[in-house]
């Protein structure tokens, strides 16, 4: 339950950012909705490390900046394919291993792949991801390893990611 205060602060901040209200009645209603949300989250048993990664916010924000660069590059590549000749695409389905050890790290990696145009995570079986790619060259194990490394580092911490990656290579 040490993640409860973090969720409380995040929900209260979100409520205030969306409403901007300071009248006592609105504040009371806001507090009520925050408490109801906390109660629902507790009932669902989703108040844990993976659901509230506030202790890694800085690393995750840095990762997001890096990911945006990748997304810009991928956008340009896929736009070129959309506007290019009809038979220029070369779809492929690949399986690749993630070095992320936690659910958070795996979810972050899988969602990053999906968010990047040109690649979609189709299925995940343990640490094995099934990925569909628009062009075969973009879907080699080698081309995904920087994203895997960065995602694992952002979600699990540099030490764990480094050990896992070094062990694999």
């Amino acid at each position: 339950m040490i993640y409860l205060p973090g969720l409380l602060v995040a929900l209260a901040a979100l409520w205030f950012a969306l409403s901007g209200e300071t009248a006592p009645m609105f504040l009371a209603l806001g507090a009520l909705s925050v408490l109801v949300t906390l109660w629902l989250a507790a009932r669902l048993r989703i108040i844990d490390r993976d659901a509230s990664p506030y202790h890694r916010l800085v690393q995750l924000a840095l990762y997001l900046v890096w990911l945006m660069g990748q997304i810009v590059k991928a956008n340009i590549a896929v736009i070129a394919k959309v506007l290019g000749p009809r038979h220029a695409i070369d779809p492929a389905l690949v399986r690749l291993k993630t070095s992320a050890k936690t659910d958070l790290g795996r979810a972050l990696f899988a969602n990053s792949i999906t968010l990047t145009p040109g690649t979609v995570t189709v299925d995940i079986e343990g640490d094995l991801l099934v990925v569909h790619a628009l062009v075969r060259e973009a879907a080699t194990v080698h081309s995904f390893s920087p994203m895997d490394r960065h995602a694992a580092k952002a979600a699990d911490g540099g030490h764990a990611a480094k050990a896992a990656h070094g062990g694999k290579a």
Binding site: L14, V78, D90, P91, V122, H132
Partner: protein, 114 residues
């Protein structure tokens, strides 16, 4: 200054709309469900990001900017979940993706491997 920001914001929003259009074009042009998801993700990422960036410039720095950033964050969190649900549903249902060059696959549709 405010005028320049307005036009810069408008330009970015228009560029975002153009990317959304390109995404739609890709959905029409690409051959199967998986490749079409790739095209749609241009609309989700590039299109939405440019549009929200443009709206941020137009609105100026205020609570509205924070709300726009939150909208962007939620789009970035939810759109991969939706794309994954779509791709996973097709994959679980046994829909075979077209593998290899699109031109080759036109002659040999069932040649793809899971």
């Amino acid at each position: 200054m405010a005028d320049a920001l307005f036009w810069a914001g408008g330009g970015l929003a228009a560029a975002g709309a153009l990317l959304a259009l390109i995404g739609a074009l890709g959905v029409l042009r690409f051959p199967d469900v998986y490749t079409r998801i790739h095209a749609a993700s241009i609309t989700d990422t590039g299109g939405a990001t440019l549009m929200i960036l443009g709206l941020c410039l137009i609105s100026g720095l205020s609570l509205v900017t924070l709300k726009l950033v939150l909208v962007w964050v939620f789009i970035m969190l939810t759109s991969p979940a939706a794309a994954n649900a779509l791709a996973n549903a097709a994959y679980s249902a046994g829909h075979t993706p077209w593998i290899g060059s699109f031109r080759i696959m036109q002659d040999n549709r069932k040649g793809g491997s899971r």
